[in-house]
Subunit: 310 residues, 3 copies
């Protein structure tokens, strides 16, 4: 594995999950593996659990951690090629990355989409600039189109439940803000690599990009989709088909106790942070896997870092 930005970067998903569970059982077993090496965590957008879980995983492996918070530092980076930089931008992104290359052995980056232009966002210009200009392994901490460390943590959580051939329902949820498609895209491309039966439920108008739904059954009726589900993976996203739009939805897609009764004793999952009583009701969240998922972010990151360090 040379980088970790999408499921296709991983040679063996099952092995990576098992490696994460092994790290969870014995967190400090490789605490010298990263000795003398440095990972840079670059945040173009804010982060809390991603920073904390990755920082903790890195510490467990003995890595030095440098945090670079581009958004908070007010560091204005130029993304275009060949500009006359006599305006606002202080440094070209490629120069910034080539400097980080001097200080870091691994680089992890978070870069959200603008949600204005699908083609631009889905070309992942920022993530690709990191891959092109950094000599060591690049790790995505959520890019415009994917959130692979979250997806790996989600699969670890499902694995821990030991359900053979589970039915996993991925359901759109309401939200007051327009959000990227990265989490749902990513979860779909990871979960189809397992032996789960996957059903995607969303209102019409919230179609995802084709590349993420091949082989996935789509149902616009949430109740039908939920029937017999072992896991209900819930997430809001704005439309891909009407890019960045949030078309009005008539039915109530909030997950309630009543909806959960339609499932096969199903377990509710969400990547957090979650809007209580909007995405799901208090009681659903309080009896869910959400904290276990958040905890597994550490072991997902640790398994990925271990693989990249070896």
């Amino acid at each position: 594995m040379k980088k970790f930005t999408a499921v296709k970067d991983v040679e063996n998903v099952e092995e990576l999950i098992l490696s994460a569970l092994d790290a969870k059982r014995n967190p400090l077993q490789n605490n010298q593996l990263g000795a003398g090496k440095t990972i840079g965590l670059v945040f173009m957008n804010p982060s809390l659990r991603t920073r904390l879980s990755t920082e903790k995983a890195a510490q467990n492996l003995g890595l030095n951690v440098l945090v670079i918070d581009v958004s908070k530092d007010g560091w204005k980076l130029e993304l275009e090629d060949g500009p006359v930089m006599d305006g606002d931008t202080q440094e070209h992104l490629k120069d910034a990355i080539k400097v980080l290359d001097m200080y870091c052995d691994l680089l992890a980056v978070r870069c959200f989409p603008g949600l204005e232009n699908a083609k631009e966002d889905y070309a992942e210009p920022i993530l690709n600039a990191f891959i092109q200009n950094f000599n060591g392994p690049v790790i995505s901490l959520e890019s415009a189109t994917r959130h692979p460390l979250q997806s790996l943590a989600d699969l670890i959580t499902i694995k821990e439940k030991s359900i053979d051939k589970p039915k996993v329902v991925v359901s759109w949820a309401p939200h007051p803000k327009k959000l990227p498609q990265a989490v749902v895209n990513s979860f779909l491309e990871w979960v189809v690599e397992t032996n789960a039966e996957v059903v995607l439920a969303h209102p019409k108008g919230y179609e995802l990009s084709d590349e993420f739904v091949s082989g996935v059954v789509v149902n616009h009726n949430q109740d039908e989709a939920l029937a017999g589900a072992d896991f209900v993976y819930c997430k809001n996203w704005s439309s891909f088909s009407n890019y960045g739009e949030t078309p009005e939805v008539q039915e109530d897609w909030t997950i309630t106790d009543e909806k959960m009764k339609l499932t096969n004793n199903g377990q509710f999952m969400h990547c957090l942070p979650i809007r209580r009583n909007v995405v799901a009701t208090d009681n659903v969240i309080d009896n869910s896997l959400v904290y276990q998922q958040a905890g597994n972010r550490v072991w997902a990151a640790q398994a990925v870092l271990k693989t990249l360090l070896q």
Copy 2:
């Protein structure tokens, strides 16, 4: 000791002071005690010396440190129960804490009062949410009503002066802003656990909550109070009785060289930061214990962390 939020959490104050002085003599004697463990420092409000001294104490014990700056990160947390979170708040405080529980073995938190509603502030809803939702020990880095690590550092400083049965005068001081009562509340509940004679001096209208002044002599005449003092502990606070108000004060309560002459060669103390020539004059501050107090914050934190780790 399961938590450290008030003097009543401490089994033996004298022993804790001695443990801090022992750490000061030999800072690295327990530098493997925290190995492989993580402390989260959560700042709902800004901090500098509190973060630095706690971070240093944690490093001396071999703990990993994760800093979470809620105020700077613009992370808007919901505090109410059962809300429909379709507004500004992004995450419920209890969810945030339960996630931190996955990453941290100990959690330290700073949460200031709103100074609008005494009952609300003194119920310590934020600190209590941490205590209720975090499984490990919780440490207060100053809450609405108390600042126990500061008080412990203050008692260490007094101890170092080896004065038998000292007279400690706690005096209100002028300040351009309205401030919480936490530092003075806390110092009072700690110092009365020692064999010191304690006198509280403040202008009328600046009465503190009854729970912190039981057994404490109150004098509204600063000069009278200062007579024979071995230590003059100075601090501004806004009124508790007229909650959050700052009634006008006619007399000059600034501590000057003249005022210090009323004492028994008394030593001036303040928790810093201090407004020079408002709280006390330059010369009083330049010949005071304030830096020693600030330095002792490290050993206070280290003694507390050591006890909680054992």
Copy 3:
């Protein structure tokens, strides 16, 4: 060496360069030298590569690092002597430093000039307050008048090219903002300590302070200056003679491929961040020493820290 704020603090520049190159070859050879010691990095102004490279150097030496970001923390410090602090400033700078003295064995500080008053800026009141009030060694991370870690990194980079008696041309460059003179001042006072031939090129009106140009040939014709150059060190600065002003320049001072052809196969240098196609064209930058210089910041810092720790 008791402090590192200017070339005159260094006993032997050549030895320091060799020590840096030694650290570059074997970064972890002194990884216990700083064990149990703490360096505070104080930023009165924003920083990225300076923080990262210094933090990495400190980690390589086993030092604990505390970062204090005064600008981001909104910590308003009083700089005047004897003020009645009933306004905006929360803490006196000297009190802040004396507190840091309790927590840190070494202190590094970045403090930019105001560019309004030459006499005030060049008196270095902030840097000097650190030197006066901190008991351990003080390191400049760029002050009003100098940027010594950058200059040391620059000399390391020149040394690595092994050119005997190189001609080094220091050239002013265009820039949309008004910038300090610190980088160019500092490079000049360091490079004249080597056996290089130094020529300073700048438009009329951009004269530097006399103390930095003694023994340096000044040429107002960039093309003439560039003839035969082995290194072209480029940097913008605002005028010292018309302090903080940026008089209009008629000629085009941007470094282009054509200009580089005037040199002796010269190598382009810049401290970064660089405004592409303003200071120099893309092609000049892409074939330059700028990343090597940035990388050498680590080894410059490591050599300085090692010397100060010994």
